[in-house]
Symmetry: none
Subunit: 140 residues, 2 copies
């Protein structure tokens, strides 16, 4: 189960060290891709396959489907953490998420996300206000 938030440095080879607690979920590999709100999404393999199955059900031939699958898959990369539990983020994804020297890694139960610290803070602040509101709307 992926939980929590941690600040991670990105070394000058572009590697990010995953939190210890995440290693087990990601041990057999993971897929990074473009998430919403300019963050990166990390799926454990099992979760990724569920996602792929879901996408395969979308109506083929449809233009929106084509657009979506092209973006979704073309931004995805299969990664396997090294012996120290680090992953090397592909250049184009690092740019997309505007990652510099540091990153925030957050767990979201069945997947994880990586954010630029500044962006995360901004997003967080915004969310604070809407949190209660959203929670009650969702009936949590």
């Amino acid at each position: 189960m992926l939980l929590g938030r941690s600040v991670r440095s990105i070394d000058n080879k572009g590697r990010i060290i995953l939190p210890k607690e995440f290693r087990e979920d990601f041990a057999s590999g993971l897929v990074v891709t473009k998430g919403l709100d300019a963050c990166l999404l990390l799926f454990p393999m099992a979760e990724w396959e569920k996602k792929v199955a879901k996408i395969a059900e979308m109506p083929e031939g449809n233009e929106d489907t084509r657009r979506f699958t092209r973006l979704f898959f073309s931004n995805a990369t299969r990664l396997i953490p090294d012996a120290q539990g680090r992953i090397l983020i592909p250049q184009h994804l690092k740019e997309m998420a505007e990652l510099k020297k540091e990153a925030i890694v957050i767990g979201l139960s069945n997947k994880a996300e990586i954010w630029d610290p500044e962006k995360w803070q901004r997003y967080n602040k915004e969310s604070e206000e809407r949190y209660e509101e959203a929670a009650s709307r969702l009936g949590v």
Copy 2:
């Protein structure tokens, strides 16, 4: 699983080096054909056969079917990557996709596409806006 995006040079003999990760899927050969939106489509043999089977189920005699199958098959070429994992794109397909000195190769799970870089960028930009919408609908 075909994933990711890479920029590839086209050497002066018209060869494109497939990304390392794609080799396994394409090792036993592939079929290139005309894709939608002026790109080239690459099918691993197994996927190609599925496609053919599907097309065989289309109502014969129907004019759309005739039109489609003629285009689809007449543009298709069977290729086998050389020992270095390169493929030689047929002239007429290169022209069709307006490929020059560089190409973008993208993985789409069960197939791959080749784009002219400029065209891809333009297409990508257009899709960005609709991406979030489609993604949230899918619960990504």
